[in-house]
């Protein structure tokens, strides 16, 4: 690994910040505490420019953390934009102020100060290369368009613009601080609604932005009266988009949150409450019995999308992929393919792959053919594939994705086909499309993939842990190697179990239990504790790399071959499976459920992590 490519934008951003720290291009550096550069995703599609740091920003060293920042946070959340996915900066990087008693009163930067700082703004734009820049207020507008810019100009409408080496679109709106200066409640609330509408327009112009969370109450929400309880790691503003940072749950009760979060929650839940047939999002189960019928229908579905300028993605097992490519002929070149037996080996990894495809196409409507269910899958895999199909309705409800899921009725059991009618709002068979009467509205996860898991083998002994995580890792590694797992995959399992056990420590006051068993085909580690995980999509969406949480279960899904998670009043059980492949070297012991009591007889296996 080399730093030049790995560090890439981060290193460049660090270099810029170092350079800017000594900036003396204008006199403002004499009185401000520090140069305040922008923050956020260095690959953000949405780039917001404010005026200059305020008193709080200057002291804390982060943009938009003062009163205007709180307004912006609320407005972003209400507009469905995750602050973690945008880049936030100011036209002028130093705080300009005037002393009034002990207070430092904001002063508007003048034209030459704005021009002097444009150098840094252009460097940030060249680094992030956003698709759309939102100009918050007149100073931001002036920094891009010069002193003739007026806030009302093209407000809320994207238009082409360039600054330095960057070219893209800009959209003008008001600065959030102007809302705080409104003369009365009515004026403030109107101005705020205008800002939210403009931010929505910005979000729509760059396509649906990735979001890090989903309102857990999505399938029971009927009104705005919600309360959020539980831990919100990071302890930042309460927007729905941030609720995924930790273990939390939502229940119907008196409102204790800011209004923005409530509107957000009910809006998203509202989407999930629809049968997902009326809007653009469509999720179809396609029942087929012959290879010919399979290929023809899928090719037709994809061609209709291509003709409408939509992006196409096909993830099916290899045999099916060959059939679809044949049927598409030359059109296959315009469609992306993936082998579902690899991509969807753990069905918990599929949603993020489809989201990645959607993001790559910048808001173009997407058609996705996904076949995560095939006859040779085992019972646990089929349960998880069914759960995944169900969660698709939550994950993509507010997108315009059209998703077609083929089911081979000639090979799958009647139970599996019946599950498909519960997880898909629409059914396609014999060329006929109909609404599924079995699909639950409001959205519910089907019972047979949310019932308690079958118990572990009776002779598998649970090991109780609290802070002895190193011991937990030693155990997992030893047994994984004994079971015949290769060293690298044993380390993967160690990471997964350790992350889950760490959650016990973080989110509960009691001990957890680890149970391990294996046979010829796989090793399973089950962790149970008293914690509750309410977000049904936990670990299935990519956390922002700089997030203060949310990486644990993401890692678990990334490294394990199958993950089963059940959470409720009785606590949380997470079962992590690793397949023992023919290629995995040196199986040492005979298979069978494993009994051990580590406290009495600690394992002495050599560790080569």
């Amino acid at each position: 690994m080399t730093g030049a490519t790995q560090g890439g934008r981060a290193a460049e951003a660090a270099r810029l910040a170092t350079e800017a720290a000594d900036c003396t291009r204008c006199p403002l550096h004499e009185r401000a505490t520090q140069v305040l550069f922008g923050e956020g995703r260095l690959d953000a599609r949405l780039f917001l420019i404010g005026e200059q740091p305020g008193d709080q920003e200057d002291k804390q060293g982060h943009p938009f953390v003062g009163p205007a920042g709180h307004v912006l946070d609320r407005a972003l959340a209400e507009a469905g934009v995750d602050r973690d996915h945008v880049y936030l900066t100011n036209a002028v990087k130093h705080f300009k102020w005037q002393a009034r008693g002990k207070r430092r009163i904001h002063q508007r930067p003048n034209g030459s100060e704005i021009r002097a700082c444009r150098h840094w703004l252009e460097a940030e734009l060249a680094l992030v290369r956003p698709r759309l820049v939102v100009l918050l207020g007149a100073v931001a507008g002036e920094s891009v368009f010069g002193s003739r810019y007026r806030v009302g100009e093209h407000r809320g409408e994207p238009r082409d613009a360039a600054a330095g080496d960057w070219e893209g679109q800009v959209l003008g709106t008001i600065h959030p601080s102007s809302i705080l200066r409104g003369p009365d409640e009515k004026a403030r609330s109107d101005a705020y609604a205008g800002l939210v509408a403009d931010l929505r327009a910005a979000s729509a112009a760059v396509g649906s932005l990735p979001r890090s969370g989903w309102c857990a109450g999505g399938w029971v929400c009927t009104c705005n009266a919600w309360v959020v309880r539980g831990t919100m790691a990071g302890n930042r503003s309460p927007g729905c988009a941030r609720w995924s940072r930790g273990v939390w749950s939502v229940q119907k009760a008196t409102c204790r949150l800011g209004r923005a979060a409530l509107v957000q929650a009910s809006r998203r839940c509202g989407v999930a409450d629809r049968p997902a047939t009326a809007g653009r999002f469509r999720h179809l189960a396609f029942f087929y019995a012959t290879p010919g019928g399979y290929a023809t229908e899928i090719a037709e579905f994809l061609r209709a999308g291509l003709a409408a300028g939509e992006a196409g993605f096909v993830a099916v097992p290899p045999d099916g992929m060959a059939l679809v490519k044949d049927a598409l002929g030359a059109d296959a070149a315009h469609v992306e393919f993936a082998d579902m037996t690899e991509l969807g080996r753990n069905p918990g990894r599929i949603i993020v792959r489809v989201s990645d495809f959607t993001s790559k196409h910048h808001g173009r409507p997407v058609r996705y053919v996904g076949e995560p269910v095939w006859a040779s899958r085992g019972p646990a895999e089929l349960r998880e594939a069914c759960l995944h199909e169900s969660l698709i309705n939550l994950a993509f409800a507010d997108t315009s994705a059209q998703i077609l899921c083929p089911y081979d009725t000639s090979a799958l059991s009647a139970d599996v086909v019946a599950d498909a009618t519960r997880t898909h709002p629409l059914l396609l068979s014999d060329g006929r499309l109909r609404t599924s009467p079995e699909y639950a509205v409001p959205f519910r996860i089907p019972a047979n993939c949310s019932l308690p898991l079958p118990p572990p083998p009776p002779d598998a002994m649970p090991y109780t842990y609290r802070t002895d995580l190193s011991e937990v890792r030693t155990l997992v590694y030893k047994h994984a190697r004994d079971a015949g797992l290769a060293a690298a995959r044993a380390n993967d399992l160690v990471l997964a179990v350790s992350e889950v056990a760490a959650n016990t420590l973080r989110h509960t006051q009691s001990t957890g239990t680890l149970t391990i068993w294996y046979d010829d085909d796989e090793i399973v580690c089950e962790v149970h504790d008293e914690g509750v995980i309410a977000d049904p999509l936990v670990g299935r969406r990519r956390p922002s790399p700089d997030a203060d949480g949310g990486h644990g279960l993401w890692l678990v899904h990334q490294v394990c071959d199958l993950v089963e998670l059940r959470s409720g009043d009785k606590g949380t059980t997470i079962r992590m499976h690793m397949t023992i492949e023919g290629g995995d070297e040196d199986a040492l012991t005979s298979p069978g459920a494993l009994s051990y009591d580590c406290r009495a007889n600690p394992p002495r296996g050599r560790l080569v992590w």
Binding site: G3, G7, A10, A13, S470, V494, D546, D548
Partner: protein
């Protein structure tokens, strides 16, 4: 013996002094607070360059990663550069899967991290 040990030195590379934090053992949620204190104390000294040598680290979890990411943000803010050096494969894989390696440069050795 402690699960995680840290050692801080200030060697020179070329004409410049940098902060070298060497970690060994296992970094997880049980010692991430200690790691945070060590890194914060070093960041507060405002070095231009800080390198965390991971070669002695057998294991690192997401709690430890968050501490490192936080130190990276603090270094960013004060115009310094944080780099990671020589992670073993399991740790390198974790950095890749979380895309932390896109935020913090990762080098195969300390000398590579401080070159140029």
């Amino acid at each position: 013996m402690d699960l995680l040990t840290t050692s801080v030195t200030t060697p020179t590379a070329g004409s410049e002094t940098f902060t070298l934090v060497e970690l060994s053992g296992e970094a997880d949620v049980t010692n991430s607070e200690m790691l945070r204190e060590v890194l914060e104390a070093e960041v507060a000294k405002e070095p231009r360059t800080m390198v965390i040598d991971l070669s002695g680290l057998r294991f690192m979890d997401s709690s430890a990663l968050h501490v490192v990411l936080r130190a990276n943000r603090a270094m960013d803010r004060q115009g310094g550069v944080l780099a990671l050096a020589s992670p073993r494969e399991p740790v390198a894989k974790m950095l890749r899967l979380t895309a932390a390696d896109q935020l913090i440069p990762v080098y195969s050795s300390v000398s590579e991290a401080t070159a140029g």
